[in-house]
Symmetry: C2
Subunit: 402 residues, 2 copies
Amino acid sequence: MPFDIPFADRLNNVETSAIRELFKLLGKPGIISFAGGFPDSTLFDVDGIREAVNAALTEEAGGALQYGATEGYGPLREQIAAFMATKGASALSPDDLIVTTGSQQALDLIGKTLISPGDKVIVEGPTFLATIQCFKLYGAELITAPVDGDGVRTDALEALIAEHKPKFVYLIPTFGNPSGALLSAERRRSVLEMAVRHNTLIVEDDPYGDLYFGEAPPPSLLALSDAVPGSRERLVHCGSLSKVLSPGLRVGWMVAPAALLAKATMCKQFSDAHTSTFAQATAAQYLKAGRMPATLAKVRAVYAERAACMGAALRRELCDAIDFVQPQGGLFVWARLTGSGGRLADGGELARRAIDQGVAFVPGAPFFARQADAATLRLSFATVGPERIEEGVRRLAKALQG
Amino acid sequence: MPFDIPFADRLNNVETSAIRELFKLLGKPGIISFAGGFPDSTLFDVDGIREAVNAALTEEAGGALQYGATEGYGPLREQIAAFMATKGASALSPDDLIVTTGSQQALDLIGKTLISPGDKVIVEGPTFLATIQCFKLYGAELITAPVDGDGVRTDALEALIAEHKPKFVYLIPTFGNPSGALLSAERRRSVLEMAVRHNTLIVEDDPYGDLYFGEAPPPSLLALSDAVPGSRERLVHCGSLSKVLSPGLRVGWMVAPAALLAKATMCKQFSDAHTSTFAQATAAQYLKAGRMPATLAKVRAVYAERAACMGAALRRELCDAIDFVQPQGGLFVWARLTGSGGRLADGGELARRAIDQGVAFVPGAPFFARQADAATLRLSFATVGPERIEEGVRRLAKALQG
């Protein structure tokens, strides 16, 4: 008798990703890929990480290799609090945060602790794909708030909060994946004020905030929350070392009100007991060694050059066929096909044609939880050098013509 | 206006652990602790792990520090398949398993992919505490099957399967936490046969199977499944490096039918994207270097000596006040207060008195999902040397008298 595995009902809420299908085509030789969401591995500070792990194994082998506290490795929590202080979140104590297995796990713990099936959650349209699926697995009904060049439109967001009374609002205010948008200082304050006014929890996901190209972006919602009474107790902040140091460490963190941290810690105990202490002790030694400022300066400079190169090439090669806001940080250009002159305005179709021309990117539609804009594209400049970026954009122009 | 965090309904299914409260008392100076569930960190092969991580950073820094496949790092999946082959699971390909963030995450993924609220799951009474809570968070209704000195009683188990038609049965057949029991070869075969007969999924959790003291235990359910037609497609097997190499790496794995692995991988993508590639590449190098046999020989010899010492001391000091089966492997003695001569037969009360005498252990009642046996105790010999074990047992005897 063949055996059908009796899967849980929650799996009916998620679909297999359209993007996965596309990624299967990326193995084609010679392809230039703007499709990834990865930092450039040639920028990793391998020597610094090697020194850090060797220091950890010399100074604290027991701690680095044994079971650890579910909340996170003490010395790392201290280093993260100090790192956050350099970014304006100065009143943070190590007890105000827990370490998570990448910020993806912070999202999972938020879903697990907060979402009951049928609960409404507001996200940006577009937003991070893995957030959509993560929250859907817990049964969330997602509502999308529109985004423009200054980030989420706070007028529309407030109307949606008033209408739907969501369990929480999930935002990536700084150089978000995929929009690359930067929420203005004024709108940040407005988001915090509406959290208090509507008694709503806000989740700020901030994996890209350190990757700015020129001036530093406005302070995070977390850093600003001191100035808006009552907002801090309605705010969750997720951070990560993945985009700036190494995704392979899987070191992220979550700052939240004490009651939420306690429940998230309990859930984490049954999710993975704790984040790898081997990786945590390494990250703690790395931060302690004071290498982060130089690492940040290096990656900012490289990504800034590539972003400028891609922006210029897109304007030159695709002219009025494409519309985008030049990113001020992060890893992505988020663009929209205008359809001008009767040209193709479907991102999915262009992605397929682009593969034939030897260039890959991700169509934007899957990043919308609802009301997808099929004309959108996400182009990552992170892992491609300037010459190849220019060649890739030329191929993209050809794909659009063909 | 104070803000009450709107927690999800699923949190109502779990309680704060009674054991946690006890652990707070362990900081008392001079206390001898039989309470932990940890391997002894002084046995960790720090030099071997240092060589492994340095080899990983030299030979494959990109892979060790970049994002990786959700299924696991290819070279590690190969090494794990080869390691499993040395333990009798010879037909295993790397594609038959995924790497998980400790075997705790395998349990979480099993819950996420299989349990809908209200589903019944059969576990042993007693069983691993974090399994109980993990499955309850997904809404499982737990049924307990009784355990004796030869592991789960298969006659009772079959009757419970027939009565409850569970989503799956969860077993720790080899030196389980807390029972320490070893499921006999005959019962192993019987479990596989009833899986086929009743068309029921069996989950075998096997973190302790490598820690045997004399002869090797009977083959795992996974290794035996080749001999029972139809059983392999109804079997999930969870393994881990935590008890034999290092818990801090958080490297576990899950062998399962392809359809279940695919759904577990999808869920893992939204749980933590992937297990630390830094830890995975290190573990792969360690296994490739061929150090595991010597490491296993060392830890087996040390734990065997401690187990023998604890068994002898318990018999000598507590005589007929206590009843237990001498463990043939693992980290635990599972004992029962007999109440003989009118002495205390409550494990929780003895645990409190024992703290006053300077020795700690974990009462057994919380390890039962239902129908707790309050007379039981879990004593770990893993992290305490022979002399301290003898002193600790003397203190325990005093606590029982006092």
